[in-house]
Symmetry: C2
Subunit: 484 residues, 2 copies
Amino acid sequence: MQKQELVKRLQSFLLPDAVLFDLEDLKPYESDGLTAYQQTPMIVVIPETEPQVQQVLQLCYETGVPVVARGAGTGLSGGALPLGDGILLSMARFKKILHVDPLARIARLQPGVRNLAISEAVASHGLYYAPDPSSQIACTIGGNVAENSGGVHCLKYGLTVHNILRLRVLTMDGDVLEIGSEGLDSAGYDLLALMTGSEGMLGIITEITVKLLPKPERAQVVMAAFDDVGKAGEAVGDIIAAGIIPAGLEMMDRLAIKAAEDFVHAGYPLDAEAILLCELDGANEEVSEEIQRVHDILLKSGAISLRTAVDDAERLKFWAGRKAAFPAVGRISPDYYCMDGTIPRKQLSRVLTTIQALSEEYQLGVANVFHAGDGNLHPLILYDANKPGELARTEEFGGKILELCVEVGGTITGEHGVGFEKINQMCSQFKPKELILFHNIKYAWDEKTLLNPGKAVPTLHRCAEFGAMHVHHGQIKFPELPRF
Amino acid sequence: MQKQELVKRLQSFLLPDAVLFDLEDLKPYESDGLTAYQQTPMIVVIPETEPQVQQVLQLCYETGVPVVARGAGTGLSGGALPLGDGILLSMARFKKILHVDPLARIARLQPGVRNLAISEAVASHGLYYAPDPSSQIACTIGGNVAENSGGVHCLKYGLTVHNILRLRVLTMDGDVLEIGSEGLDSAGYDLLALMTGSEGMLGIITEITVKLLPKPERAQVVMAAFDDVGKAGEAVGDIIAAGIIPAGLEMMDRLAIKAAEDFVHAGYPLDAEAILLCELDGANEEVSEEIQRVHDILLKSGAISLRTAVDDAERLKFWAGRKAAFPAVGRISPDYYCMDGTIPRKQLSRVLTTIQALSEEYQLGVANVFHAGDGNLHPLILYDANKPGELARTEEFGGKILELCVEVGGTITGEHGVGFEKINQMCSQFKPKELILFHNIKYAWDEKTLLNPGKAVPTLHRCAEFGAMHVHHGQIKFPELPRF
């Protein structure tokens, strides 16, 4: 169908300002948080009711037009990168908090509600929503579900998938599914987990029921400085091995420390090779006891200095540095490339050392700032897009880091998703049979493959071109084609 | 293929004692823990290596013979009920603990390892495996994954799905999949959660990597007696609303208390209408503080008496009564039917009261003993199979209870799975479109539908016959047929 006719049909059930088609209006939607990739969508729609979304989907289903859903557009892997011949479906107007039940400790939300707005809305009941991505001021709960987002506190409180109970989902042909329950378990296959992190490829979420947690009585943070990155990595393992589950356990290396300190004056020690921020929360006495134990462990692990925040203001200052680390690095380098991989904790030292070596090999600086407790790395590769060849070198370096994550038993994504960015690395992570299974599962939901096609799961053909059929255990098996 | 020829081909790669085909040898496999349903399988195989399982599957794939996997056969929903024209695949010989890493706190296991054997094997490291179904002495980790088993402690520590990291899985055509990672997150759709609780319908598990937890410093239990079941239900909500997450929060009513007390002399108050057992665990001081808070809450909620176990021996005695409740009820009634449904916690009072009314209507006694903290009910309907009509009345009563669970926003299964038992109730729980999606997902893994066919997900035809197309919101839509 021609763009013009499609616009006309969309305008028949959407308000005029909910259908964008002029180049100028489409511009802001060309990319998400991963601005390295850009594509102007054919049309942007911004519906505000579920029946409107249903009609958009039915129209696209009928006419074979692909649909890319978008929340706040803060994603860092290009999951919401539009298609030139597709519709970009913005869920930005689904902002209602539909219901809060403080006794059952749940809230039912539209997908466009901002992550932080949930906690703000339930604060008066002494409750909060635990997963807290760095972008929590802006990012939406719908996008969080689509990417299975984490955050500083997911070590103790889990990822998005562990903090949601129910979803209301539209299939590509416009049918309504109700997934999950307010009970602990659901019958049938676990569609709730399957939808979570599916990057807009299986269905469009229109409602989300989240779990709320009681705000802990007290939270306290310890900052430890190390003269060696490897030692800091070991200390992380030591804390966990002692049976302590910190609310957050974050690591920053020299470059990240300096950038953050220059930017927000958090009080970080500039002579350290690495710092750890370890937050404990819970009942008052429990926190006191654990702080003491963490102190002892950190000293034994070789920390050269320790500081416990004297009050909540200082605690927040310590975290402000961590949360501002990305923009801070943006001030010291014209461009940076934020990676996201997860490794078994015990491999931290080895992986950090190898990244250091790769940094020298590629002649590109790296700032490390990451969720150490759960082994979720965020190396930021510093480069200058204006220098010929630097972007290509950066991408190659980044690919090497992700392959290293797979090699040590980890995965190519922590909390940012695969999106468009890491689709080639999926060829390293998975065998052909596993990729076929992914395609089959997509087909089970969306048999015309109209929902966010080309993201997250590479075709076998793509993997062959990428040259990554040298997968697990050298099994170079190129099986029968998938069914589409 | 004829049975005789199949036996011959199986014997070509399996040891003689690993292929059973005489009626007498097949007898013990006729049912699992739900003995109400029985079916003699065509052949039983008991392989002991992964390549052997692979060969069994390839042979069945090639010849179109269905396969039902079985662990210890302790399941309570008939998930391992054999097929008369199928092979029963026993994983009982996969008993090896392959690897324990106390630092990373993980263990890699074969599926036939008993649940309790895991905790025993890692006890010397001060670790344990958290999910603890009542059958934990006998049930296997493979079966636990297949059913997403819970247990007394899953309120605090989660279900099986929250306690596993990786699976090694064979597809029906004999390919190997590696699912999950030792990191916190995995790329691609969440196949780990999808496999967990899939009741042997997607693949055959050959290895499982589980998380281990440090044993808490101290565990303590409070027993509260109530003169009213509804008040006990309210007390559960009050404890949770106070922000306390007990390690276990169990409830028993008069009939269950009496049966258990007569059987194991746990010290239960025989004059109570209901008791709650509330276990707190963690650091020493934390437990002391929480015990005090729980005391206060229980008194405020109307408990008529409170007892805190004086030592660990008494704590275990309190639990022994709870864990022996099922066999204890077996002593006071010729037969009982164990139900399993989950409801939002706040509906506890209402549902218990309605079950009481139904009990009078159907003239059948009910003993309630269940995981109150997570709203996972286990009403035991008492009946006598020798009295004409009682079994049928019992099944109808049971069905009513499950429909009630759905009606109040819960689900028809907690931790026991759907299996063969609750397949009709799936028609009440799900809309046709949702059932089609389940079928499509199965098809994505097992396109010949040879793995445990006829379990867990009803065909639409079956639902129509059951008369349960009067599903959610009265949408009586009978859509296009599923693709198989």
